[in-house]
């Protein structure tokens, strides 16, 4: 099957900001005499952007993601059946804002995944146009770094679904 793939270029403003946060916060001109001394919350946000997520939490998310993937696909079949390489689940469903059709549709609506954690941050940053509250940075910060703490309390993945 041939699926049209087209990559849409979006401006930082229309991208929802998450993808350009590192640029806005970490790149561009700096004036050494006044290094953002008066911006509350910025250092925390910047530090968290540098965190490469590699933790027990990541591993558990992967394990969970594989569970879900396999559950969705097998419909009672075992892994060995999967290994036969059935392609009948290839629905070519296109994902919003992503590059591709022709991609397996498995679990695409489910945010309890490795990607889900990132998406949550992105949702938070893009927020409402008029959102202007103290807590935003804290929320973003928590969403970027804080899955660790969360995870211990509740391990079933449901918390990552969009509930707010």
């Amino acid at each position: 099957m041939t699926a049209p793939v087209s990559v849409v270029r979006s401006t930082p403003t229309s991208s929802g900001l998450y993808d350009v946060l590192d640029l806005i916060l970490d790149k561009g001109l700096v004036i050494d005499a006044y290094v953002r001394v008066s911006v509350v919350g910025i250092e925390l946000l910047t530090i968290d952007l540098r965190v490469v997520i590699a933790s027990v939490d990541t591993y558990l998310r992967y394990a969970e993601a594989v569970d879900r993937l396999v559950l969705h696909e097998q419909n009672g079949k075992g892994l060995d059946d999967l290994m036969d390489g059935d392609d009948d689940d290839d629905k070519g469903q296109e994902r919003k804002g992503r590059s591709g059709g022709g991609r397996r549709a498995v679990g695409s609506g489910d945010e309890s995944s490795v990607k889900g954690a990132v998406k949550k941050v992105r949702d938070r940053v893009s927020g409402d146009d008029d959102e202007d509250e103290d807590g935003v940075v804290q929320k973003v910060r928590k969403a970027i770094s804080g899955d660790d703490g969360d995870k211990k309390k509740n391990d079933n993945g449901s918390r990552r679904r969009k509930s707010s």
């Binding site: 793939v5 990559v7 270029r9 979006s10 401006t11 930082p12 403003t13 991208s15 993808d19 350009v20 946060l21 590192d22 640029l23 806005i24 790149k27 561009g28 001109l29 700096v30 004036i31 050494d32 005499a33 006044y34 953002r36 008066s38 911006v39 509350v40 919350g41 910025i42 946000l45 997520i53 590699a54 990541t58 591993y59 558990l60 992967y62 394990a63 993601a65 594989v66 993937l69 892994l79 999967l82 290994m83 390489g85 992503r98 590059s99 991609r103 397996r104 679990g107 695409s108 490795v114 990607k115 938070r124 927020g127 146009d129 959102e131 202007d132 103290d134 940075v137 391990d155 079933n156």
Partner: protein, 244 residues
């Protein structure tokens, strides 16, 4: 009244019709051949909010649509308009004009490439024997009981995912560098990210660059591309201004 600074241009630019951070109207502070786009920032500390980040980005996006602008990092606030001239523009005028010359006619395009989670995980489970071995081991065992095995499984998956990244980014980067005046690849910051790279591209070549990105994405349907721009050359205006 403190002054928030967005970016520096050659000469006074036409101000975009969008509000600044905190809904403050935009203004221009000129000095010699350069100008800073600013707005009032009020007294007291400025809070880093989503709305503020968005306003900052929007102003720079709009400016960069029509001319070359050196963006300042989000949250640059100086005591007053005088400090814009005395601490930013005047002492650095040579560096600023030099950088404006170098970036003139160029925009930044940013390309981020990710493994599709479902595709890569499926591949890993199907073809990596250590992963599939551990996967079998945890089948039918409650998640709590298999806690440590699940961590081990995840660890093996992480290893296998990293392994599959090797050699993927370089050809993509190389193909795009050809159309760029300058480029830099950054360390991928997310597990599934393969490439995170910024390109300085002449405005006249943006369409060609679009076509190239599209072609690369067509070649690699298992990868997800996020493509951003045009934007001010954030990554190529990495200059520290020496305040007066």
């Amino acid at each position: 009244m403190t002054t928030y600074v967005y970016g520096i241009t050659r000469g006074a630019p036409q101000l975009p019709g969008v509000p600044g951070v905190g809904d403050a109207p935009l203004r221009i502070v000129e000095h010699d051949a350069v100008a800073a786009v600013v707005s009032d920032a009020g007294e007291g500390p400025l809070r880093a909010t989503a709305a503020g980040l968005k306003a900052h980005t929007r102003v720079l996006d709009e400016l960069a649509a029509g001319l070359t602008v050196l963006p300042l990092r989000f949250g640059t606030v100086v005591p007053d308009d005088r400090a814009v001239v005395d601490a930013m523009l005047a002492p650095n005028i040579d560096h600023l004009t030099e950088l404006l010359d170098r970036l003139d006619g160029h925009v930044q395009l940013t390309v981020k490439v990710f493994n599709d989670e479902d595709v890569i995980l499926r591949d890993v489970v199907e073809t990596d024997s250590r992963v599939s071995g551990l996967w079998r081991k945890v089948q039918g065992v409650p998640a709590e009981a298999a806690y440590y095995d699940r961590i081990a499984l995840g660890q093996e998956i992480a290893r296998a995912v990293e392994q599959r990244k090797v050699g993927v980014a370089q050809p993509l980067f190389d193909a795009l560098v050809e159309l760029s005046a300058d480029a830099q690849a950054k360390e991928p910051k997310q597990e599934l990210m393969v490439l995170d790279a910024d390109f300085l591209v002449p405005r006249s070549q943006v369409e060609q660059f679009d076509a190239k990105v599209d072609a690369l994405a067509k070649d690699r349907p298992e990868l997800e591309f996020r493509y951003l721009g045009p934007m001010p050359a954030y990554s190529f205006a990495d200059l520290v201004l020496q305040g007066g």
